[in-house]
Every structure is written in structure tokens, then in C-alpha cells.
Amino acid sequence: MSGWHVDEGLLADYDRGTLPPSRVLAVDTHLLACASCREQVRVDPVWLTGNWSVVFDALHEPRSGPLHRFLRRLGLPEHRIRLIAATPALRWSWLGATATVLALAVAAAYLGRGGMQVSNAVLLVVAPVLPVLAVATAYGPPADPMHEITDTTPAAGPALVLWRATTVVTVAVVMGVVAAVLLPGPGWYAVAWLLPALLLSVGTLALSTVIALPAAAGVLGGIWLAGVGTAVTIHRDSSLPLVFGRTAQLGYLFAAMTAVVVLTVRRRRLDPGETR
């Protein structure tokens, strides 16, 4: 530290912010090295706390990856993006959920094409529910070490399961599409089994901005059962292609995209429980 100190007039101008930038830099440099001059600087504690908070958050906040930026462009609220981004961060649960969902889709496609007509109706009924159950299990007690804390938060419950299911099934659909394009064989059929699950998850979340979540799940589940019932009744032997055929797949995709739009437009209604 030098024997020179900033004089009072210069320090007052520095405090007021009326110094030219070059002199501010010079005073800053001196203040970094001189504790006695630092003590003379008058600091507004509110301003200092505010600035410290901004610096602290900038240093510690999780970095925004491409997924984060993409979801932000879609208009999803920041806290929802944090929740979705954390879904793959719980690695074992993520791995287990994704692998199980893909395995279910492949198994369902195989069974559906194998001419096992007896199981058709059962397969059709449970197709959209199985992936959601798989995700709920993968993020449950055996795989998630923090389940006890998570389960006692207000976010715990069907909504959290559906957000996670939407994330996992979306990734599984993308993986299935890539595999279907790159690999020989009827891979599209496996993807087709995942679309109703995606629709169930994202559709229920979208509908829950209008009615209560259990009711939303009931409405969509009822529509699915009615559709399956009609298909099985009218086309007993060819109900599978009807429910999972190209036209139906396009319908699911369109409906899922509509649900995403509804979810985006009505996103402020997603947190009716927020009281703080």
C-alpha cells in the first residue's frame, strides 16, 4: 500500500458518480489496495446488498444449456424449466425411466405385430398409462435417494409425475424417431406406442389449467377408453392398426402439439396453489 490516499473531494465525486471513467478506474484500483480509503467510501447498504445478490446469483446459478434456452423460447416459466432440466440430472432415475419406456414401446410394438389378438384390448387400454407408471416408479423410493424430501413438498403428486413423464417420453419419442430413421425394420411402430403416453401426460397438464388435475386425467382417460372401446367393437380383428395407424399417429401428434400450445398460453394457471 502506498502512502498516498484519495482526497476527500475526489472521494465525494466518486461517491456521487460524477468522475470520468478513467479517474473511476484509478480510484477503484487504489481502493482495492487501500483499506483506510475503502472505509471512507460511503455505501448505501441496500444498494450494496442488491448488487452483491446479483453478483452471487450470476456466479452460482446453474448455466443455461441449449434445452434451457429452447424451453425459454417456448415461453415456459423459469421454475418449470428448472424442474424439467433437473429431471435428467437425477441420473439413475432418468436412465431407468428412459430405458423402461423405450423397452415398453418396443415390447408393445412386438406384441401388437405378433398377432396376439387376445391381448389387444388390454394393450390398447394400458398403452398410454404404462410409460407414465414406469416414470413414476423410476423416480420413486428405490432409485431416488431424495424421495422423502421430494414427497413432502407441495409439488409432489400427479403433476410432478406428469412433468417428468412428459420429459422422459418426449426424449424417448425423439430417440425412437432417430432409431426408426437410422435402423432397418419397423421402428416406427414402437414410436407409435409412445405418442398416446406423451399426449396423456402433456394433455392432462394442459387440461389441468382449466379443470382440476384428477378430473383432467379422468377426462382424457375416459376419452381414450371410449376410443379404444369403439375401435375394438367395430374392428375386432384390426383394432390395433386403427388405434396406432398413421392417421391416428398424426392425430396424437397434432393433439399433443395443441396441448403444448394450450400449456404455453395458459401457463399462468399452472400454479394455482402458489400462495407466497
Binding site: F56, E61, E148, T152, D271
Partner: protein
């Protein structure tokens, strides 16, 4: 005013009763739960934290019934829970983990959430470890981080299951200071095996045994139960009387006066051991 009303609470694991018709009324301040392993402390705290549904009985917490889904969700907004094994994600940084749990606790406004994360980090003295991954934190720091998670959202009811296990005396002091500060205005329920923690922190102590409250009163009242029943002697007892050998070579004996016994100042631990010895003598270890 009572924050927690427990009426005939029962919970079984198979044929084993963990809670057996428990009745309690708990209010503001720090209440400590003591008891041997398997006494039902953790089961009770898990029921109160809404992690576990009881088989029978009624709970009323902060005026809400956790058996009703909508009230359970509202209740979860107002409680903070640190389980015995919090299982914190090792790959998260302290800041990330707090931010994630804050989202789960419905702190949806980004600026307020970050301010809350900074506040609890500061409360548990982990601000300088905000960027450290959980797997690189010491055991005591992880416990403090667990406590910070429970403190998020300034809960009206704080439920802590053995929060001071495995931490050094200095960190335990920090815990005590923090918990006692929270207990001034909120309800804190604390399960522990450390009678020193109960003596230092709690206005009220409940000793659990076999799923029931074997004692409910102040720490002083529990100590008083050992008045005239703690002795220093040169000989070890021959029966099932609890005792241990002090560093100075004398036997500290609880119960009836030995022939050469001279009275000793009773402690909370003496009162606790005598209470349990009376209800289940074979379970008191020498």
C-alpha cells in the same frame, strides 16, 4: 396454542406396531423426542411430515388435516422436513440443490427464490460452499445443507429427524443456535439420541417407547425423576440396575442406594435411562 394435535395415532409395519394409539398436543417452541431405536420416533415424524399415512387415529397440524389431499398440499407448503437419511443428490452443487427444492416448494418467482436460497445458505453458514458439489461436502456440511433445505420457505413447522448425528461439537453448537432461534417463533420437532441436545434446546421432551409416550414434560421434570436415585459407588451392582464406570474409577449407579453409595447430581440422561429401565429393564445397555 397447539400447532399439532395427535389423537390415537397408530401405525404398524406388518405385525409390529410402530405407533400404538399415541396422543399428544404440541405447540410453539422446540420439542425433543427421545427414545430407543424402534420406539416410533421416526415413524411419528414421518407421519407429521406427510411422508407416511397412519393406519388409524387423527392428526391435525397447523389447523389442517393431512388425510385430506387439498389440506395435505397446503400443509406441505408450511412444513420443513429433514429426514434421518436425506439422501442429497451428490452431483448437485449446494446452490443447485437448494434452488431445485425451492422450486418443489413452489417458490416460483425467480428473484424471491434466489433470495431465499441465499438466506438459508447464510443461515447454515454455507455461503462460501454454494458452488461445491454435495459429494465434496463433509458430513457435517451435508447435515447443514439438509437443514437449509428444511428451512426453505420459512416453514411454520420444522421437523428434524436426528439432525445432529455425525457432526462435530462446533457444528452442533451452530445447529443448536439456529434451531433455538427458529423455535422462538415456530414449532420445531426434533428427534434425537443426544440427551445433551434436548437439555440444551428443548422446552419440552417426549420420551417414546414401544410406540407410546412414556414421558411428556420439561427436561427439568425428567431430571427430577432421577432425584435421589443416582449414586456413586465403589462396587458394581449384581442385578439389572443400570450403571457404568466413571473415568475416576467409581460406578455411577441408577436406582436403589448401594451400601457405600453417595448421592450424585442427576442428569437428563439419568432420568431418561431410569424411565426406560422401569418400562423395559432388559433394553438398557450397560
Amino acid at each position: 396454542m397447539n400447532t399439532v394435535s395427535i389423537d390415537g395415532l397408530g401405525k404398524r409395519y406388518g405385525a409390529t406396531p410402530a405407533l400404538d394409539g399415541l396422543d399428544l398436543e404440541l405447540g410453539t417452541g422446540v420439542t425433543g423426542f427421545l427414545g430407543p431405536n424402534g420406539a416410533g420416533k421416526t415413524t411419528l415424524l414421518r407421519c407429521l411430515a406427510t411422508a407416511l399415512a397412519p393406519d388409524r387415529g387423527r392428526l391435525r397440524i397447523l389447523g389442517l388435516d393431512p388425510a385430506v389431499p387439498a389440506q395435505r398440499t397446503e400443509l406441505r407448503r408450511r412444513i420443513g422436513y429433514l429426514p434421518q437419511n436425506p439422501g442429497l443428490y451428490p452431483q448437485f452443487t449446494a446452490y443447485d440443490l437448494l434452488d431445485y427444492v425451492a422450486v418443489l416448494k413452489e417458490l416460483t418467482d425467480g428473484r424471491r427464490r434466489r433470495a431465499e436460497v441465499r438466506r438459508v445458505l447464510d443461515e447454515v453458514d454455507l455461503t462460501d460452499r454454494a458452488r461445491t458439489k454435495v459429494r465434496k461436502l463433509s458430513g457435517g456440511m451435508r447435515q447443514r445443507l439438509g437443514l437449509a433445505l428444511a428451512l426453505l420457505g420459512q416453514p411454520a413447522l420444522l421437523i428434524l429427524d436426528e439432525p445432529t448425528v455425525g457432526i462435530d461439537p462446533e457444528q452442533r453448537m451452530l445447529f443448536r443456535a439456529l434451531i433455538s432461534r427458529v423455535g422462538e417463533s415456530h414449532t420445531v420437532l426434533l428427534s434425537t439420541h443426544q440427551t445433551e441436545d434436548v437439555g440444551a434446546l428443548c422446552e419440552r421432551v417426549v420420551v417414546m417407547n414401544a410406540g407410546r409416550a412414556a414421558f411428556d414434560g420439561t427436561p427439568r421434570q425428567l431430571i427430577n425423576r432421577a432425584d435421589g436415585r443416582v449414586w456413586l459407588s465403589t462396587t458394581a451392582p449384581t442385578g439389572s440396575q443400570p450403571y457404568w464406570r466413571n473415568a475416576d474409577g467409581l460406578y455411577r449407579r441408577l436406582g436403589d442406594r448401594p451400601d457405600d453409595g453417595r448421592p450424585a447430581q442427576p442428569t437428563l440422561e439419568d432420568g431418561y435411562l431410569l424411565l426406560l429401565h422401569r418400562s423395559a429393564p432388559a433394553r438398557v445397555a450397560r
